[in-house]
Symmetry: C2
Subunit: 351 residues, 2 copies
Amino acid sequence: MEKMNTTHIVIMAGGIGSRFWPMSTPEYPKQFVDVMGCGRTMIQMTVERFAPLCPLENMWVVTSEDYVGIIRSQIPEIPESNILAEPCARNTAPCIAYACWKIMAGCPEANIVVTPSDALVINVDEFRRIIRGALSFASEGERIVTLGIKPTRPETGYGYIAAGEQIAGSEICAVESFREKPDAETAQKYLDAGTYLWNAGIFIWNVDTIVGSLRRFAPELAAKMDTMAKAFYTADEKKVVGEVFPTCEKISIDYAVMEKADYIYTYPSDFGWSDVGTWGSLWTLLPHDENGNAVVGKNVHLYECKGCIVHAPNASSVVLEGIEDSIVVEREGRILICRMSEEQRIKEFQK
Amino acid sequence: MEKMNTTHIVIMAGGIGSRFWPMSTPEYPKQFVDVMGCGRTMIQMTVERFAPLCPLENMWVVTSEDYVGIIRSQIPEIPESNILAEPCARNTAPCIAYACWKIMAGCPEANIVVTPSDALVINVDEFRRIIRGALSFASEGERIVTLGIKPTRPETGYGYIAAGEQIAGSEICAVESFREKPDAETAQKYLDAGTYLWNAGIFIWNVDTIVGSLRRFAPELAAKMDTMAKAFYTADEKKVVGEVFPTCEKISIDYAVMEKADYIYTYPSDFGWSDVGTWGSLWTLLPHDENGNAVVGKNVHLYECKGCIVHAPNASSVVLEGIEDSIVVEREGRILICRMSEEQRIKEFQK
């Protein structure tokens, strides 16, 4: 018998993307939008990025019940039973625990990658090389690997990982500590030091490691998962998950496990990564015209515009004259125009 | 038998309104749009303005074949047979001649008002008083009356009428001459002189006067109308109009008649009139918020905006931040943003 592929991918797709209104709305958030104007949504690009690493039946999506229909239509190649619907949002630890317990039920030797659904990777081959290396390293014992992105600028919008000693014969390093989003001065120090990495929120572990870690550091959550697991693959599954999952404490995986375990490693990586977390970062990633405008949408016409980002892929026609350094967005009859410098206020603007 | 009402109204509704794209498009031009956000389109307001002056069967609309459906749905109270479809646009003289010959066929004693379909009148009672006075004056002989609007500013966007001697016992004056749109200096002189009036393009005459005038000054056009008239109210009407009307010379009523006849009069009027011909003039007419923004549309939200006009009555949501002195328009997925100072370029922007 052929060796079973033990690699499983868990795509977290429950976010509501409020910073990108109206491109992203609670009904249709960013991960389901063709943000880059490349013909693929963020989650479709995420699936494609991981597709060569495991069979499709090893690919899992954890999401809100509201988004199950969107996921089935955007990634029909993933088995419907691999879409895990959270009855309500409970932050990342319950989300990840649900997926890992479920995977364990079918594949006790699983090695797992947990990833956001809405980040961008430019060099996909290098990304896969890194993921394969991390999976190999994590499969060998109680090791949690996080990808650490080599910073290219003093970014204040990301959390950082302070890398420690390099593992002999490997590119992977121990983690000294995790750091919150820094102020500008601290971010510059991190960049100058050369040992700080951006936390991409991509985790690699084997199923024993994550389940054991949660039993140790979050025993209540683990007990609830054990209850749920008894119903997995039975007719009662939906009912039991619906009863138990909402009773889980809202807690992040960083707080529940990362800050407590002493077997955390980071893989310093350089494959062109962005969480595409702000309009400013999207502007940076897209090609620009000679006036520094970045446009997604075929029917957009600019006159005397400078430094704008325009996202209107479905508008019949958009004509802009004399707009500078602004965000211009259209989606389904909702329109936003906002100066780039004011983008942090977009959450408050949502109507 | 009751005295027959001899007043007929001819509403010219063939314009394509290219200065207001995308609020106004060739498929759905300005006269069919609720420009003011009052719940009524410009042509609906025009019909309401004239409705007390004559029975509905005396109200006529001349338009392009393309707009017949829109007119039937917007003003179903007008008999379908009173919608005269021009097979193609031939400027105002053939348009007016068609309507007047048609009216003559059914009502040889008609007194006729010809009016654009897309202008605004504020004081409707005063407007009706003036129209009634002009009809009475025009019914008495070979007299063409044009409404002359008392200017309130040195407008360069309108043609002017130089008023001459006042008719004894009447508010109506002889016309000395018509003047093209002036430059700013000339417009100021006109305003200071006090004897110049804006030409509103509203004409009042009896049917003998206009038919006789066209026989005299545009005999070819009149001959074509006689040919068409033989088919009026027969099964051949559409066919004959379709053959003959396109052969008419493209010529304006101003050039064909107004500049040649010596029995032209003007009724100096003051009822709050605008042709709503530019975004700037619409901005002037609409109410403003404390920052000088004029908004049509319930779902429009402004932050740090000044001096803008926003027309988006059907958008689900429009949020604008940091826009000044600009025109912002949405209609059916088409969006325009343009500085007010550049509005004359909107024709070139149409996509």
